[in-house]
């Protein structure tokens, strides 16, 4: 069982490291956001008394790139279905939750690596983590964000037959989750609507925890962040496993 999870995980990693164009391509968006917003809006943000904006949005952009990569990794199930490889896993004598766990851990590891790369790029752009001791904490939260959104993507994709619904997922799930998460603006003093949207958005807790670990204090508190992200990841892993057990090829 552990072997099955391991080999599924390993497969995702091998595919990631062999697909250089994908690795580089998915760095474009975070860099654009970091540069355009960080340096474009930065001066206004500073004049408004918010401090260094690059410092503020870097954890948000890292979270964003993790979420995007994670959801994509999850959605890869559709390609596996299309290219027939999914059937190879579905006829194997392994529990369906092992398939879900292996895929999700693999995708989440890939997304975490992507997040680390974006963090390093952000440092080139002037971002400076405030505490060395909290770096492992930041890494832990990055993996948790990755886990939650890979599981979410996999669960959604396990029910999709083709890529038709893909733009729908991008525009009505992934983008709103990003923009309404506090990745780009502080939640302190946000209008009521935004504050509520952020509260029900799991990414908010990821951004919050990452900002807490990399820059300074959290909005919700590390405990709440950890709880929400863990429960969210567990929820989607459960849903995904259940959906996989119902999957017919």
């Amino acid at each position: 069982m552990l072997n099955a999870i391991y080999i599924l995980w390993l497969r995702q990693l091998k595919r990631y490291f062999r697909s250089k164009s994908r690795m580089i391509g998915s760095l474009g968006q975070p860099i654009l956001f970091l540069v355009a917003l960080g340096f474009g809006l930065g001066p206004i943000y500073e004049r408004a008394g918010g401090g260094n904006y690059v410092q503020f949005i870097a954890p948000g952009i890292i979270s964003m790139s993790i979420m995007f990569t994670a959801v994509f990794s999850g959605i890869e199930v559709i390609w596996d279905r299309q290219f027939g490889f999914l059937k190879e896993t579905l006829v194997a004598p392994v529990p369906r939750y092992a398939i879900m766990l292996g895929r999700t851990f693999g995708g989440a590891t890939v997304a975490t690596i992507q997040g680390v790369i974006v963090a390093l790029l952000a440092m080139v752009a002037g971002f400076r983590p405030q505490s060395l001791i909290l770096l492992p904490v930041a890494l832990g939260f990055m993996f948790l964000i990755a886990l939650l959104f890979t599981a979410m993507g996999t669960a959604i994709a396990s029910r999709m037959q083709d890529m038709q619904a893909f733009p729908l997922i991008m525009n009505f799930l992934v983008m709103p989750l990003f923009f309404l998460s506090g990745a780009l603006f502080p939640l302190q003093g946000a209008t009521k609507g935004i504050a509520i949207a952020a509260t029900i958005n799991p990414l908010s807790y990821g951004v919050d925890a990452l900002r807490g670990a990399l820059v300074n204090g959290t909005h919700y508190g590390f405990g709440t962040d950890l709880l929400v992200l863990t429960l969210g990841a567990a929820f989607f892993l459960g849903v995904g496993s259940w959906l996989f057990s119902k999957t017919e090829a």
Binding site: R11, W79, G84, F85, K87, P93, Q161, D162, M163
Partner: protein
């Protein structure tokens, strides 16, 4: 003692009955051909036998186990070559086999030895470290045959194993398959549209049309029954000469979509 026993097997998709009260059995070590025109219910039947689809009604016994109740026992009992390729293009030949072996819990030393043995059998030993995306259709099929045999299955399913391959490769593949039945006593269950292949390789044949079995027996029995001289003529006599519509599937649509998204 039959290794596959199917009784009144039925699958309905809404109003449409894809497989309609099908019964047959396959003996241990037998080479069994499951023939039928497009859309007759062949692949649906194989999916039910291999735990990929739950039957609406009827019973299945695979090496004594029920695919709806004891899925893992059934999954361990068979190997399969699907109609469409099911290899990971981004992995090498060896990695695809290794993946399969680990998934099926084949112990490491045995697994590595078996992989070497099978790569030699299908003559892909020199391509073991090449990515699948560099393989031709025939090479992929040969590798899938090797993969399906890796965990020493008792039953081997081949859904159109020679579709789209040149005569040389097809001939080669049938040599492996008949050899397997002779040397290792594996039960072979296959579908094909090439009637000469079925006539040459199969011990017994079942013909399915519109979800129902219309005839079964040895190739000679079917020829005698229809007063024809070849299995191809017997097949046409049993299923008629009208051309069957093959609908464009969601798969075809996806292929177009994925090109648009820049993936192969």
């Amino acid at each position: 003692m039959p290794i596959i026993e199917v009784h009144d097997l039925t699958k309905r998709f809404g109003e449409f009955t894809a497989v309609d009260k099908v019964s047959f059995s396959v003996g241990k070590g037998e080479i069994f051909a499951f023939l039928g025109p497009n859309g007759a219910g062949k692949t649906t039947t194989i999916k039910m036998l291999t735990t990929l689809l739950a039957p609406t009604e009827g019973s299945i016994r695979m090496d004594g186990a029920d695919p709806t109740a004891d899925q893992d026992a059934v999954r361990r009992s068979f190997g399969i070559v699907f109609q469409d390729p099911s290899l990971d293009d981004e992995l090498t030949a060896w990695e695809n086999l290794e993946f399969h072996g680990v998934l099926y819990g084949v112990e490491k030393k045995l697994r590595r030895a078996r992989i070497d043995e099978l790569l030699k059998l299908v003559e892909l030993d020199d391509r073991r470290n090449d990515l699948i995306k560099t393989f031709s259709g025939g090479m992929k099929r040969r590798l899938e045959i090797a993969r399906g045999l890796l965990h020493h299955p008792k039953i081997f399913f081949l859904d159109e194993p020679t579709l789209g391959l040149d005569p040389q490769t097809r001939n080669h593949i049938w040599d492996y398959i008949t050899n397997l039945s002779l040397k290792e006593g594996i039960t072979i269950f296959f579908t094909t549209h090439y009637m000469q292949e079925a006539e040459r390789a199969a011990h017994r044949v079942a013909v399915i049309d519109h979800g129902k079995i219309v005839a079964q027996g040895t190739p000679d029995e079917l020829k005698a029954q229809t007063a024809t001289s070849s299995l191809e003529d017997a097949f046409l006599a049993l299923t008629g000469k009208g051309i069957r519509a093959e609908e464009a599937s969601g798969q075809d649509r996806m292929r177009t979509m994925s090109k648009a998204w820049g993936r192969k």
